[in-house]
Structure formats: structure tokens, C-alpha cells
Symmetry: C2
Subunit: 304 residues, 2 copies
Amino acid sequence: MHTNQPTPFRIEQYMRQQKEIVDARLDELLPRADAYPEIVHEAMRYSVFAGGKRLRPILALATGEALGGDLRRLSLLACALEMIHTYSLIHDDLPAMDNDDYRRGQLTAHKKYGEAIAILAGDALLTLAFQVLAEIPSPGQSAEITLRVICRIAEAIGTSCGMVGGQVVDLITQGKQFTADELNYIHSAKTGALIRASVDSAALLCEAETEVRAGLGRFGTRIGLAFQVVDDILDEDASSSELGKTAGKDRAEGKATYPAMYGLEESKSVAARLVAEAVQELNFLGERADALKALAQFISIRRV
Amino acid sequence: MHTNQPTPFRIEQYMRQQKEIVDARLDELLPRADAYPEIVHEAMRYSVFAGGKRLRPILALATGEALGGDLRRLSLLACALEMIHTYSLIHDDLPAMDNDDYRRGQLTAHKKYGEAIAILAGDALLTLAFQVLAEIPSPGQSAEITLRVICRIAEAIGTSCGMVGGQVVDLITQGKQFTADELNYIHSAKTGALIRASVDSAALLCEAETEVRAGLGRFGTRIGLAFQVVDDILDEDASSSELGKTAGKDRAEGKATYPAMYGLEESKSVAARLVAEAVQELNFLGERADALKALAQFISIRRV
């Protein structure tokens, strides 16, 4: 007997499948580990294939699917986003920055390959990401769109309100009294901007109309912020073995986090509210947005 | 009384004028030092305006002039090249890499701002360079050309035969017996690739014909190699106060250099031969190549 109840979206299965697509494409795009000079290629692959969830590329793919975009072009965008994310993790983990020895339960790049190679592997991943973006097949007018995608991503990882700016403020507020403005800046710039850009740039690549892009932009802003709030909560709440890195480190170092400013319970309700608002923003897309909505939910319930 | 003797090209004056154009454009493109978060913007400007000769941007402008290209578009390319060059200097100077305290007679970025901000300022300059490239006004078909310029530059600073690859091999051969192949790889990849790309990418942006680009490519390869050979020679020959950095450091650290492999005199004759060959390659451009030829000569006679 049929009911009108919609089948629940199987997010774990979806993410597993999409991750396989992304990983296969990353494997094609990264220089082979036996290509000269081997050590930097090994280091790039070591960090890229260190067990990430591929949230950013999967968001880009899901956005593209919702808009009926070209999956071959989207997969290049997706891989570039993951390369950029990996570069940021490698550099953030360095002794001069967050000084982390473990990430996802394995040695960080500089512990494994030394600081010099880690810095260079990060630099190389950032460079390769832009190369991959510029190599998105873009005949005729679509080349202009690809240039706009490159600008959009560069902004999201730059200094003014992007990833590098967020990391700078994260560093300079450490161990100091921080303001709500600084906390919001860090969260929106350090993590939020690239997550939002994963959605935005996919919508741009699909040449979605302005209103569609605006709605997806509001979705992206909310899940980006929710992601970082949940990250802060997990740092307080989860054990080191669950996280694969040192738990409670943020508070020990006096970092500007949501729980430090608003407490754990309030932070959890902020995260839940942000995700609910994000999901609402996608109603205009109907069923086509099921994967995106499920990804938003995943962000709020993830354990690592 | 007139003679048929051509006026000698006034290279110092030319370089001074072109540097002013590049510096004014860089000042427009870099975030203001008082824009939030200030410290990273200060660090970016500190390193960009540390007294560089602007060789790479001037090569791009001179190539564009020889081909009658659009100076507004070329000036953006030129600035992106200088941002990339500055990022590479900041990261190369880090303690984990070449560990230099001074560069052009002033403190290196990490000595002035700390390692974390130096790493991030380098990351930000690399990112901004790609943004500036993607923002080159590129109506219609020229957007495809701009994407190719981005690819060309990304290759030149990547791992396979670009700048990061060169720095990797420079690091791993340090203090070890090195082969002629390794030495050639370092010289061609670490410095040569971006110098050649400065010429190549300008020719590409001007949509020069294949044969013209091939000739300019051979010119670029030779001056790129000559530049690094002269750099090695200066490290042995000049005093620290002339160089603005520690002289003789390469040999002391057992670096793979031309003088270390071939001796000082042979290295000098290699540099002179490369420049002579480079100049020959440009004969087909006639007088239009005067500035490029003078720049090649400048490379071989420079003292710092």
C-alpha cells in the first residue's frame, strides 16, 4: 500500500556516493605520487586523502544537481574547493599557527613531512585549485562565467571577509578578551565564507538566475555559520578520539568560540535555528533541494 | 650633425618609469593597510613595497608593448606576477625554508610580523594574484584567453616544473651531492619558470601568433636561466651590504648553485652566452623589442 509520506532522504548513502565521485576526480587531478619531485606530491595526496568528508565539494555538486547543471564542469569546481580546504588545513595546523600534531586521527602534514614541505604542499594545492578552475571547459560566453567563479572563490578565501582574514582574527584574538563582532567575523570568514562559496560558485557556474542565487546564498551563509558553531560545540563536547584531534584545545588556548561567549546550550540552539532557517530558504526549489536540505541537517547532527 | 647610430636604450630610466606604473597599480589593487584585519594587509604591503626591481611585471609590460597590447589589461597581469613573486619570497624566507632575516636590506616578513602572519600574507598574495587575473577585463572571446593566462601562470608556479617544484628540489638537495640534472631543474623551475611565464603570459594576453609566442618563449627561457645563474654568481661575488641579504650563504649551506658545479668564471660565461642568445631570438621583432633586449642585458650586468 502506498502512502503520501515522502521517502526520507538517505544522506549517508548520498554522501558516500558523492565522496566516491569527488575522490576519483581528485585522484585524476592531483599529480601522481611518483612524479618528480615526489615528496611534495606525496604530501599533497597524503593530506587530500586523509579521510575528509568532502562537505564543500558535495555541497557544490548538490547545488549543481538541484539546478540541472553540467556534472563534468561541476566536478572540477568541487575538486578545486576540496584542494583549497586541504591547503587551509595544512597551513592552519603548522606550529606557527594552531600547532596541531593530529588531524582526523593521523599525523598532520608537517609532522609527517616536515614544515617546509607542508608549507609548499599547501601552496601547491592552492595553486592547483586555481588551475583546475581555469581548466573548466568553458566554451564561448561561459568563459566569462568561469572567470566570475574564480573571483568569487578568491574573495571567499582572501583577507577582507574570507578565510585568511578569519584565520588572522582567530590568531590575534587568541588568549584575549574578544567581542561578539570579532567572534562573528571569525565564524563567517574563517569557515563560513568557503562553505557559502561552495554553494554560490556552483550556482554561478550553472548560470542560475539572480533570485535563485540569492536564496542559495542565504542558505549558504546559514549553513556556513552553523558548521562553525557545531565545530566549536564538538571541540568542547566530544572526546579527542572521536574528533581525531585534541579536544578542548580551543578553550584551553582562549580561542574566540561560540560556547566561550554564549555557553554550550545557547550555542546548540543557535546551530539548530540556523539550520532550520537554511532549510526554509530552499523551499522554492521543491524536491530538487532534498540533498541540500539533508546536507544542512547533517551539519547540525554530525559528531565529528 | 646626424649619424645613423641608433640612440642607446636608456634602461635605467625605462625601468624607473615602468616601476612607477606598476607600483601605482599595486597600491590600488592591494587592500589598504587600515582595512580590517589590518595586520595582514600591512604585512602584504610591507613585503610588496620592499624595494623590488619589478623585473617580472616590467617584462610583461615590455612584451605587451612590443606586441601593441592593451596596457590596462597588461598592468593587471603585471601586478599579479609581482604579487606571486612576493608571496614566494615571503614563504622562501621562513625559518622552515631558507631562514633569512633580511631581504633587500630590511627585515623579512616573519621577522617583522611573526611567522603566522607571514605565512598568511603569502597565502593572501597568491590568492589575490589569481583574483586580479580573473578580473582582467575580458569581453567575449578574450575571456577564454584570460583563462589560458591563468593556467599558464599556475603551471609556472606549480610543482611539476614550476616554482614550488624548484623550491622543493632546492631544499632536498641542500648539503648533498647534486647532479647537473637537479641543478638545471632547480634553476629552470624555481626562478626561470615565472620569468618565462611573465613574457609568455603577456604574449598570450595580447593574442600573439604561435610563432611570435614561440620566439618570445625561447627568449624567456634563456633570460630566466640567466637570471638565476647571475643570482648564484652575486651570492658568491657581492658583499652582504650590496645584496641586502647574507652573501655567500648558498655555498655555506651546500646549495646546488652554478658556481658550485661549474666555477665562477664558467658561470659568468654561461650567463653572458644565455643573454646573447636571448637577444638574438628577438631580432624578428626589430626595434619593437628594444626594451626587452635591454632588460635581458640588464639581467646580466645587474649588481643586486
